[in-house]
């Protein structure tokens, strides 16, 4: 009987955290050895069907793993497993430096030693590096022996303060302990990993708090239809899919392509062929991409390979992709042309290979044209954007596809990009837009309309379609929490700060909105403040101010 509950199944990707803090993603296949560099090697079978979030010691000689109990783990974090007595009262005595002790008198119990008399000396460690290298090879016990040896052969160890001893032990532990913890590869874990080890510009340096904020501001809820422009390699799609519950396959395993039995001699109506599951109509993600094929390389971590999508994966039916050309000018895209029609007789006369090619083409065309029709129909609950390309043009194209009261959320690596967007939806621009439209209507009725919407060199979006455009800046500061030593972490990754732009799609009333009084003179404004406020019901932040 299989062990019950939630556990690491074969062929899933897991995140390993090594003692040095390095993160590693491994796909756990049965019957393999996982090589972790200096931390050792372990058989993957020792991890399969075990629960997540456990910490393991790597046994020597590839013999397997030992589960480290939580108490041992905590002890090692707090005191490195040594000098527990001192650690116990460290909280109280760390800052109680007593200046009343006379010269030569032994420091009182409970009073913290300082590093006043500590002299840095490379000779303190009596082991030579050759000996240490030798120890690395021979010392066993998952690295605990070597740490013990290092400590015992350090001559100045008793001069160290309790804290510096702990720090020393921890430092050695992070270097020599053969230990790792295993974590579920969620989107938040993946984002941490990417920031740690990959070129961050590839995914626009998007961080966990940005993803979280985007999911909330985008009002992402199971059952909705969402439009995505994602040039981060699939990170945004993954975050969205996680929120919609379609990211993780319940049956990970060697991928299976949809089985197509092309030997059918009957027409397309016959159900002999194993049918592709019908695309979902709710709880879907529609991705618009700029190249022929979408770049969703990060989704391979969730066992979804966009080139040969496994039919068992929920994304197979819930993720739809189309190109900008298919969205904006479907007539000009050759993949949108239906395959040459054949009569059943003609089909029957074809060679099996040609016939199967015809059906393949027909199915692909049906799928693509359904996706395109669905996308052009709009009515999306939200649109999420994280793109390298110019965002104003993207918004011009996608905002009209969002339904009223739907959300528009854009991630911008830099403030400049975010403010540019906010400015495009300023109330001054909105007023100008309405006036221009009115003027155009009065002059030549229909002529103005078409060219503006067709011209993609002009990226100015319609500012009347968005309410309350807001630029959010969010930072997360991590802290070290240890008894008596709680403080913000000393270093962290820099780079793009990241901003989230958010607005709500609205449906403006047809015709002119009477907003007279909005540009009344200062004097008048002061006098009738209430009334002026009433005239400018929104986005006062985007109102031009005059600096004095």
């Amino acid at each position: 009987m299989a062990p019950s509950g939630d556990r690491i199944l074969p062929y899933t990707h897991v995140l390993l955290r090594l003692p040095s803090g390095v993160l590693k993603i491994i796909r756990i296949l049965p019957d393999t050895s996982v090589y972790l560099g200096k931390f050792g090697t372990f058989p993957s079978n020792a991890l399969l069907h075990r629960p997540y979030n456990l910490t393991f010691d790597i046994l020597d000689n590839n013999e397997g793993l030992r589960v480290v109990p939580a108490e041992e783990l905590t002890r090692d974090i707090l005191g490195g497993g040594f000098g527990e007595a001192e650690q116990g009262n460290a909280d109280e005595t760390h800052y109680d430096l007593s200046y009343n002790t006379t010269e030569g008198e032994a420091p009182k119990e409970g009073v913290m030693r300082t590093n006043r008399n500590t002299v840095d000396n490379a000779a303190s460690q009596t082991l030579t590096w050759e000996q240490i290298e030798e120890l690395k090879k021979t010392a066993g016990n998952s690295g605990k022996d070597i740490i013990q040896k290092l400590l015992s052969s350090h001559v100045a160890i008793d001069q160290k303060t309790a804290f510096s001893l702990q720090k020393y032990t921890l430092r050695k532990a992070s270097k020599f302990m053969k230990r790792f913890s295993v974590h579920r590869l969620s989107v938040s874990a993946l984002t941490d990993y990417l920031h740690d080890s990959k070129e961050p510009f590839k995914f626009l340096e998007i961080r966990n708090h940005h993803l979280g904020l985007m999911m909330s501001l985008g009002n992402i809820v199971h059952g909705g239809r969402y439009l995505v422009v994602d040039e981060t390699g699939g990170l945004l799609v993954a975050a969205l899919a996680e929120r919609l519950g379609v990211l993780n396959s319940t049956t990970p395993g060697p991928a299976t392509a949809p089985v197509e039995d092309d030997e059918t001699t009957e027409g397309p109506d016959s159900k002999k062929r194993k049918l592709d599951p019908a695309p979902a109509t709710r709880n879907t993600i529609t991705l618009i991409h700029a190249n022929e094929q979408p770049n969703l390389s990060l989704l391979t971590h969730f066992n979804y390979d966009a080139n040969t999508p496994p039919v068992t994966h929920p994304l197979y039916t819930h993720l739809k992709t189309l190109t900008w050309l298919q969205l904006l000018a479907p007539d000009e895209d050759t993949t949108m042309l239906p395959p040459d029609p054949h009569t059943p007789e003609e089909l029957a006369a074809l060679k099996p290979g040609k016939r199967s090619a015809y059906y393949r083409k027909l199915r692909r065309w049906q799928k693509v044209s359904a996706t395109v029709a669905d996308a052009r129909n709009g009515g999306y609950d939200a649109v999420l954007v994280a793109a390298h390309m110019s965002v104003p043009g993207i918004l011009k194209a996608v905002v009209p596809l969002v339904k009223g009261s739907g959300q528009i959320v854009v991630y911008s690596p830099s403030l400049e990009q975010a403010t540019e967007l906010a400015d495009l939806y300023s109330s001054a621009r909105r007023t100008a837009w309405i006036q221009r439209k009115e003027a155009a209507k009065n002059e030549e009725k229909a002529e103005e309309q078409a060219p503006v919407e067709r011209d993609w060199d002009d990226e100015t979006p319609d500012p009347t379609l968005m309410l309350a455009p807001t630029v959010h800046r969010e930072t997360v500061r991590a802290y070290q929490v240890l008894p008596g030593r709680t403080h913000p972490v000393m270093t962290s990754k820099g780079g793009a700060e990241g901003y989230v732009f958010h607005g709500t799609r609205v449906l403006p009333v047809a015709g002119k909105v009477d907003a007279k009084g909005a540009f009344a003179s200062q004097k008048k404004k002061r006098r009738t403040e209430v009334s002026v406020d009433a005239m400018v019901p929104e986005s006062e932040a985007a109102t031009p101010v005059e600096s004095s």
């Binding site: 993603i25 009002n219 339904k403 403010t419 309410l467 800046r473 929490v481």
Partner: protein, 477 residues
Amino acid sequence: MATPAVSPFLAIPSELSSEAKPAIIHLKRDQHQALVLKPESTLQTRFGNFPHSSILGLHPGSQVRASAAVPSLKEQRKRKRASNSNTTTETEGIQTAAGFLHVLNPTAELWTASLPHRTQVVYTPDSSYILHRLGAGPGTQIIEAGAGSGSFTHASVRAVYNGYEDGRELGEGEVKVEDNKKGKVWSFEFHEERAGKLREEISEHGLETLVQITHKDVCAEGFMVPSEEGATTSPRANAIFLDLPAPWLALPHLTRQEPSPLDQEKEIRLCTFSPCIEQVTRTCNKMRELGWVDIQMVEVQHQNMEVRRQLQRGYDEGAGPRSIAEALTRLKGVNDLRDQRKDAQIAQAHGEQASFAGLGFKKSNGRRKQETGEEGRIVSRMEPELKTHTSFLTFATLPRVWTEEQEKEAAEFVKEHVSKGVEPRVVGEKEKRWKGDEQESKRQRKKRERAEQKAAEGGEQAEGEVKEEAENMEIDG
């Protein structure tokens, strides 16, 4: 009986109705009002009067013009007074036809902005980060202790929702998936009145089956939910959010020992929300004592940026110089003026008229005309009032209980059912990332099958045929 509609918090309805409660009235930036639409009522704002009947039936997100037809009683009185006394020509700023508003579908964010504050509210920047880090997704059972004003309740129900038990969200012809567990928020509040208020709100918002509100002091009594006849139900939660003054008192109740409120077969993610550092250290000590691992503490800071067009005003508009050049021109002008004054005094002394040439700048009336909204440069600054500190967020994980017997059992299982007993190959640096499984293409498969078939039949001739067919296939493709 018709099933009630899906909460507007969970799906945008096609039109505004009195069923979907509440509608959020967007008056201006950061000024929202939650409203239950009733056909006979009228919404009176300083932007004008809006009969609900003019809003009902619209698509959410619609802009609504104030109704000129229905002046409010107050306004009628005012008008009457104005016409009687005939003193003031300035109306009270409420010009009925001029105003408009937007009517929006509610979201957790809009509700947070418009909800009646009963306690300190967990705002979106914090709640979004917490939910993301807790891994809350459809089907999650989340405990929320210290429900307070219900802000986090709405945010979390949105995250864990994956359908109602009665399947009311399903469209025509859709079949309810039976085996997936419906996500639920298990909310605890020890203040009776607040719990009652929240229960009313949740029920009004159509979320009552998705949020279980229990009036209980979790620090003293734990997280088991009382059901009928003195029995208790376990939330079987796998995500926990504690917004309590003393989370360390509640932690011992989050135990793996039955009766346990936790999902015994999953790891538990926990977040505590405490404003003071002392609370954090105490909570962390308790967590470590109780076997929680991966303890991380962070602080989320958030600002809204105000984006404006900065139009620089010069001397001609009654302000300072725009540039050094302007300053120089003016300074020179002042010098000239002084000289002129001297001249003028001399001239006056001689009984002549003097003329004052300008400073090079004309003063205008200070009004600037807006043309396209593209004048000036874009500048941004932080909003004037900042929340510099909300709370510290402490995250921790409680792994599953994993005994030696279970370990043995798992090892046994893997050996028998998963492992094929082959020599393990090393997965190292190169194979770190999976790039998709290699698949046998259709052509390869057919080729192989035919080859196998022919091989079984035997004969050199067959081999030749296979080759020929393979070539044919290639031409077909």
